[in-house]
C-alpha cells in the first residue's frame, strides 16, 4: 500500500502509523457527557468500503493525514493534512 503524503509524496505504508478512525469527534474538554466520551474513546466505524482514517507519517515528516481508504481494495481516494490545508493529488 502506498500513501501519498502531501509533503513527501508517495511512500510505503511501512513509514506510517495508523492512528484510528477519523470520524470520531472529541467532546469539548470540559464536557461531562460520559456517553459522548465513551463513544469517542471506544466506538469505531468499520465500514466495508471507503473509510475516513487518520494516519501519521511517523517515519517521515510526522504530519497527521486524513486518508480516505477503501477497506476492501486498499485503494486510497484522497489524502489531506489532518489539520486542514493542502490536499494531496489523489491516486486511483
Amino acid at each position: 500500500m502506498l500513501i501519498t503524503c502531501p509533503y513527501c509524496g508517495p511512500r510505503d505504508v511501512i513509514e506510517f502509523t495508523y492512528q484510528g478512525d477519523g470520524n470520531r469527534e472529541r467532546p469539548q474538554p470540559a464536557s461531562q457527557d460520559l456517553d459522548a466520551w465513551t463513544a469517542y474513546v471506544y466506538d469505531r466505524l468499520n465500514p466495508a468500503g471507503d473509510h475516513n482514517e487518520i494516519w501519521q507519517h511517523s517515519g517521515g515528516c510526522r504530519a497527521h493525514l486524513r486518508v480516505v481508504r477503501n477497506t476492501l481494495t486498499h485503494e486510497i481516494r484522497s489524502t489531506t493534512f489532518a489539520r486542514g490545508g493542502h490536499k494531496a493529488e489523489g491516486r486511483s
Binding site: H64, A82, R83
Partner: protein, 997 residues
C-alpha cells in the same frame, strides 16, 4: 560413473565431483546436481517416510512441488527441516538427513501405522481427542498421555534449538516490469520489455534460468532450447536496465503491485563470500508484473501411486535431460494426455527401455501412436494401472482394461515388469500469485484445469500459466506480454522458430482409477481418495471444510500436486461439476519463507542500538550493560568477585551514605515551545503547569483518553514559552506521538511545537548526602546552595568549562541533582563530576541500584504504570487537578476505575528473608499443590540495604486497606512460597526529609 548416470547429456559438469552426505553415508555428485538428482544417480530410491502411515516414499517431482523427498539440512548446530531435496543444490560438505523415521529410513518402526489405516483416516485427531467420554477412563488424562506419542509418530522434520547465526537482508526494489518465471515465456517477456528500455527484474526460483527450455529437448532458432535460453539470459545480463534474480522465489503478491520475494543467496555455497547474507528478502514494487510461472504436472490417483519409483513423467524427463540421470532402466508410463509421449521419447533417447505406455484414452491419435513406436514402447490404449508392486523400490505394476467415460475396469489384470512408472494426469497452471492478487480462478473444461482469473491488479500472464502449454505459444505470449508491460508497440522482427514434438494440450477428464488399495491424493499429508469420500459421507461438503477435515493441501507443499485431483474426487462424490465445488484461494507464501529473512536486519548484528554519550566510559570502567529497548544501560559496575546483588547493594548503600552518580541520558526529552506551551501542558498533564515559575521543574502525570495512567516525568520551565519535558525511557516515542496527535488533529489552534531532543542532551543524576558538596566543588557560574537551588529549582552554570543545566530533583530519595549538558560534552562533564566526587567516595551506580532505591522510595515505573492502573491505584490522586479538564479527566472517574477492590500499589516485605520474584502472586492462603485466588502480583523486587530486608512493590486487590496485614507469596513457576507482610509502598524516608535536605 554411478549406476543411473548417463554417459553424456544434461547440464551438469561431469568433470567436477562434489562429495556430500545423506543420512550419514557419503555420496558424490556433480556440479549442477540437486540433492535429489545426485542421490537418484547413486541409485537411491527411498527418500522419506510419509507423514501419517510412514510409507516409504521416493521422488515424485523434480522441482519446488516435491511432496515426498523432504530433508533436513544441517549446518553446524543449525538444522533446517522440510526442504525439498529437489531444491537443494549440492556443495562439498553438504550434510542432509531424512525425516520422520525411527531408527532409520530403511527400517522405520512407525511403518506399523500402515496396518492401522482404517483408524488413521480423515478427521483422526478430531475423533480421537474427544474422548474418552465413556468407560473406565472417562474424564481422565489418558488421551493426553497418548496424544504425546501419537503426535510424535506423525510429522515432518524437527526444528533445531540452536540459535541461527546467519545474517539476513532486506532489499527494496522498484521496476517497470517484474517477470516471474524464466521459461521461454518469461525470457521473451523480459527481453521484449528490456529492449523497450523498461527497468526489468527477472526472478526465478531455480538456480538456472530457462525453465522448461532446460529439459524439453526442443529446438529454438535452430539450437537446443537450453542453449537458446542461455543466449537470451546472456543478452539480458548485458543490459543495465535488467536485474537478474536467480534462486529467488516470488512468494507474495500484495496491494499496489508490491511483491515479496526470497533470494537464497548462499544456501548453495560451502562458504559464503564476505558480507553475503544467507538469504535476502526483496520487497519489489512493480509497474506491471508478467506472470510466466508455468504449470505443474498432476499425479494420477490409483492404488500404490506413492510407491518409490512412481514419478511424474516430466520430472523423469527433466532428470534425464537436465541432470543426466535415468530414474529407471525399464520404464512404463501411465497417462491421460499427450505430454507423456514426449517424455517417453526423451527417456528412450537417454538410454532407457520404455516397456509400455498405458493410456486411459481408447482413441489415441496417430501422432501419439507414432511417438510411441519411435520410443519402441508397447501402447496400451484404453488401459489403466490398478496396482504397483515392490517395497522400497518399484518392481512392477498391473494394468487392466479401462473405460475412460464410465471409469469401469474390465478384463484380466496384466502384470508388467518395470523399475519406474511415470504418470501424467494433465497440467495445472501455477496460478498462485494471480490468486493471491485477487479474483477466483476459472475452470476450463477443455484443459481440465483452473486458469488464471481476470487481473485485479496490473499483471499480464504468459505461457503455460495461461493454459497455453506449448513453447510456440509461450514465446508469442511472452513477447506480447513484455511489450504490453513496457508500453511498447508491435515489433517487426519475427518470433523465434520452435521445433517441438506435437501434442494436444487437452487431457481426458480422468483423475482417479478406482481399484482396491490406497490411492493417494495428497502425498505429503497422506490423504487418500477414500479419505475424501469419507469426509463427504460425514457431511463435509464445502471445499473449505473438506480441506481442513482431511488436511488435504495443508502440508508444506500447500496442495501443489493434490489440489485439482482432490477437488475432482469431491466433485464426483457430490455429483456436481468441478467449478461448482469451487477452489480454495491461494494465500502467501507460495513456498516456505524463513522467519530470519522477514526479521532481516531488525535482528542480530544489524539491529539498531542506542548508546548514551557516556557509553564508552561505562564499558571502560567495568559496567555490565543490559539492553532496555534499543538502549544499552549500565546494570552494575561490579568489582572483581562481586555478585550482581552484592554490587547493587554496595552501590545503593554508598549513595545513601555519601553520594552516587548514574547516567540518565536515556530519559525521553521533548522541547515544548510556543505561546500556548503552558496551556498545552495543562491539557496534557493531570496537574497544573501554567502556574509553574520559570526556572522551576514539576513532576507531571499523563493519563490516556480512557482515564488510565500513561506516563510520568518531570517538566522544566526554561522560559515563559519554553519547557523541557522528560518522559520515561520506554515511553519516549509513545509520548511524542501522543503530543503530536493532539496538536495536529485535536487542537490545531494551539501555537505549540514539540521537538524530540532526547539525543541532544546528556544527563547525569548525582545524589546522596554529599551530592551538593561535590557539585559546589566543580560548578562555576552559579551557586548550588539551598537558596539558589531549592528543591525543584533549575540553575545554569559550567562544569569543566562546559555549559550545564542543573535541576534539583530526586528519584533516589536523596538530596539529588540532574546535570544536563550538550550530548557531545557528556563524557567530559561526567568525568569532571567523577573527579570532583573522589574525595567524597562518589560511586557510579547502575540500573539495579537505581531500581533498588526507587523501590525503597515506592516510586512507580512502567512495571506499575502498566496500562491497567489508574492514578488512584498508584496513590497519585493528589496530582489530579480539579481546576481544569485534562486528557483522561472525563473518563477517569468511571465506576470500575474507582472501585475499592482494584489492584493498588503496596509494599511487600519477605518475612522469611528470602528473595522475592517479579510476577509472583500475592495470596491470602498458601496452597502449593493447587495455587488459586490471586490477590495480585509483585511488580518489582530487590534486597533493600536501607531496610536490611528483601522487599518488593506489588499491585494487590484493595491494597491500601491491607497495610500491616500478613499474606503469602505464591510463585509456583519458580517454586517460591512464603509469608510476607503488606505495607505502604513508601518504605524509606516517607516524609522526604533526606531529599529536601
Amino acid at each position: 560413473m554411478s549406476p543411473r548416470r548417463t554417459e553424456t547429456g544434461g547440464r551438469i559438469d561431469r568433470l567436477r565431483t562434489i562429495r556430500f552426505t545423506f543420512d550419514g553415508a557419503t555420496y558424490t555428485g556433480h556440479a549442477g546436481d540437486t540433492l535429489a538428482s545426485a542421490l537418484l544417480a547413486n541409485g537411491v530410491t527411498l527418500f522419506g517416510r510419509s507423514f501419517k502411515y510412514h510409507r516409504p516414499r521416493g521422488l515424485l517431482a523434480a522441482g519446488v512441488e516435491e511432496p515426498n523427498a523432504l530433508v533436513t539440512v544441517l549446518r553446524g548446530e543449525v538444522r533446517e527441516p522440510n526442504i525439498a531435496a529437489t531444491m537443494v543444490e549440492i556443495y562439498d560438505g553438504l550434510v542432509a538427513v531424512s525425516q520422520n523415521r525411527t531408527p532409520s529410513l530403511a527400517w522405520d518402526i512407525g511403518a506399523i501405522n500402515q496396518l492401522g489405516g482404517k483408524i488413521l483416516s480423515a478427521g483422526f485427531y478430531y475423533k480421537t481427542f474427544m474422548g474418552p467420554v465413556i468407560g473406565p477412563l472417562k474424564g481422565t488424562r489418558f488421551w493426553m498421555f497418548c496424544e504425546h506419542f501419537i503426535r510424535r509418530a506423525a510429522g515432518l522434520g524437527k526444528a533445531g534449538t540452536a540459535p541461527d547465526p546467519s545474517r539476513y537482508e532486506r532489499m527494496n526494489a522498484f521496476c517497470d516490469v517484474l517477470v516471474v518465471g524464466s521459461g521461454p515465456a518469461g525470457l521473451m517477456a523480459a527481453k521484449a520489455a528490456a529492449d523497450q528500455g523498461a527497468r526489468v527484474i527477472l526472478a526465478d526460483l531455480e538456480a538456472n534460468f530457462g525453465g522448461s527450455a532446460n529439459w524439453s529437448g526442443e529446438t529454438i532458432d535452430g539450437m537446443p532450447a537450453a542453449d537458446w535460453a542461455q543466449r537470451t539470459v546472456g543478452q539480458l545480463a548485458g543490459n543495465d536496465n535488467v536485474r537478474l534474480l536467480p534462486r529467488t522465489t516470488v512468494w507474495g503478491y500484495y496491494d499496489g503491485n508490491t511483491l515479496a520475494a526470497l533470494e537464497r543467496v548462499t544456501d548453495h555455497k560451502e562458504v559464503a563470500a564476505k558480507g553475503e547474507p544467507r538469504q535476502r528478502y526483496w520487497a519489489i514494487r512493480a509497474g506491471t508484473v508478467v506472470l510466466a510461472t508455468g504449470s505443474f504436472e498432476r499425479p494420477l490417483v490409483f492404488p500404490g501411486n506413492d510407491r518409490p519409483g512412481v514419478m511424474l513423467a516430466h520430472a523423469a524427463e527433466r532428470y534425464a535431460n537436465e541432470y543426466g540421470v535415468l530414474p529407471g532402466q525399464r520404464i512404463a508410463l501411465f497417462t491421460n494426455n499427450d505430454s507423456a509421449y514426449r517424455s517417453a521419447l526423451a527417456l528412450k533417447k537417454a538410454g532407457a527401455a520404455i516397456v509400455a505406455i498405458i493410456d486411459v484414452r481408447g482413441d489415441v491419435s496417430n501422432e501419439m501412436r507414432k511417438l510411441a513406436s519411435e520410443a519402441e514402447a508397447e501402447l496400451l490404449a484404453g488401459h489403466a494401472v490398478v496396482a504397483t508392486e515392490g517395497g522400497k523400490a518399484l518392481t512392477g505394476l498391473n494394468a487392466q482394461r479401462f473405460d475412460a467415460t464410465s471409469g469401469a475396469l474390465s478384463g484380466d489384470e496384466r502384470s508388467i515388469h518395470a523399475d519406474s512408472l511415470l504418470m501424467s494426469g494433465g497440467w495445472s497452471p501455477t496460478i498462485h500469485l494471480a490468486s493471491q492478487a485477487g479474483a477466483k480462478a476459472e475452470w476450463d473444461p477443455a484443459r481440465q484445469a483452473f486458469l488464471p482469473p481476470k487481473p485485479t491488479q496490473r499483471w499480464i500472464g504468459a505461457g503455460a500459466f495461461t493454459g497455453s502449454f506449448s513453447t510456440v505459444e509461450a514465446i508469442a505470449e511472452g513477447r506480447a506480454a513484455g511489450l504490453q508491460a513496457a508500453g511498447g508497440s508491435a515489433p517487426l522482427a519475427s518470433l523465434p522458430f520452435v521445433e517441438a514434438a506435437p501434442g494436444d494440450p487437452d487431457p481426458a477428464p480422468v483423475f482417479e482409477i478406482k481399484a482396491k488399495g490406497k490411492s493417494f491424493v495428497d502425498f505429503q499429508h497422506d490423504v487418500t481418495a477414500e479419505d475424501v469420500r469419507l469426509a463427504h459421507r460425514e457431511g463435509f461438503v464445502s471445499v473449505e471444510h473438506l480441506k481442513r477435515y482431511t488436511t488435504l493441501g495443508m502440508a508444506t507443499d500447500q496442495g501443489k500436486n493434490s489440489n485439482v485431483p482432490g477437488l475432482a474426487i469431491m466433485a464426483e462424490a457430490l455429483g456436481k461439476p468441478i467449478p461448482e465445488v469451487g477452489t480454495t484461494r491461494f494465500r502467501p507464501p507460495y513456498t516456505a519463507v524463513s522467519i530470519g529473512s522477514l526479521a532481516a536486519e531488525r535482528f542480530g548484528d544489524l539491529k539498531p542500538e542506542r548508546l548514551t554519550p557516556m557509553h564508552d566510559w561505562h564499558i571502560a570502567n567495568g559496567a555490565r550493560m543490559y539492553s532496555a529497548g534499543l538502549w544499552y544501560r549500565p546494570m552494575i559496575y561490579g568489582l572483581p568477585g562481586e555478585t550482581v546483588e552484592q554490587a547493587y547493594v554496595r552501590e545503593a548503600r554508598a549513595t545513601r551514605e555519601s553520594a552516587g552518580i548514574v547516567d540518565v541520558s536515556t530519559l525521553g526529552k521533548i522541547a515544548v515551545q510556543g505561546p500556548d506551551a503552558a496551556e498545552f501542558l495543562d491539557r496534557v498533564y493531570t496537574n497544573m503547569f501554567s502556574t509553574l515559575a520559570v526556572g522551576k521543574a514539576r513532576y507531571g502525570l499523563m493519563l490516556r483518553e480512557d482515564g488510565l495512567a500513561f506516563d510520568d516525568g518531570t517538566t522544566w520551565r526554561l522560559g515563559e514559552q519554553e519547557f523541557l519535558m522528560t518522559t520515561t525511557t520506554a515511553n519516549a516515542g509513545k509520548v511524542m506521538q501522543h503530543l503530536e496527535y493532539f496538536l495536529d488533529v485535536i487542537w490545531p489552534e494551539l501555537k505549540v511545537t514539540v521537538t524530540s531532543v532526547t539525543d541532544e542532551w546528556a544527563g547525569a543524576a548525582i545524589g546522596g548526602p554529599n551530592a551538593r558538596a561535590i557539585l559546589a566543588s566543580c560548578v562555576t557560574g552559579t551557586a548550588v546552595d539551598n537558596t539558589t537551588l531549592p528543591f525543584m529549582g533549575i540553575v545554569h552554570g559550567r562544569i569543566a568549562g562546559v555549559p550545564v543545566m542543573i535541576c534539583r530533583l530526586s528519584f533516589s530519595g536523596e538530596m539529588a541533582f540532574e546535570v544536563y549538558s550538550g550530548a557531545g560534552y557528556g563524557t567530559r562533564v561526567w568525568e569532571a563530576l567523577i573527579e570532583a566526587g573522589k574525595p567524597f567516595g562518589l560511586v557510579t551506580y547502575g540500573l539495579e541500584a537505581l531500581g533498588t532505591m526507587r523501590i525503597e522510595k515506592g516510586h512507580v515505573t512502567g512495571a506499575e504504570i502498566d496500562g491497567r492502573t489508574t492514578a488512584r491505584d498508584l496513590h497519585l490522586d493528589w496530582m489530579l487537578s480539579k481546576k481544569k479538564p485534562f486528557i483522561g479527566s472525563a473518563m477517569m472517574d468511571r465506576e470500575g476505575l474507582i472501585a475499592s477492590d482494584r489492584l493498588q500499589l503496596v509494599g511487600v516485605v519477605a518475612l522469611d528473608n528470602r528473595p522475592l520474584n517479579g510476577g509472583g502472586h500475592v495470596v491470602e492462603a498458601l496452597d502449593e499443590a493447587n495455587p488459586h485466588d490471586s490477590l495480585g502480583h509483585i511488580t518489582a523486587c530487590c534486597y533493600s540495604p536501607a531496610l536490611g530486608k528483601y522487599i518488593a512493590l506489588a499491585l494487590v486487590k484493595g491494597g491500601k486497606a491491607r497495610h500491616g496485614t500478613r499474606a503469602f507469596v505464591s510463585d509456583p513457576l519458580r517454586n517460591r512460597f512464603g509469608p510476607i507482610e503488606i505495607v505502604s509502598n513508601h518504605f524509606y524516608d516517607p516524609d522526604g526529609s533526606r531529599m529536601h535536605g
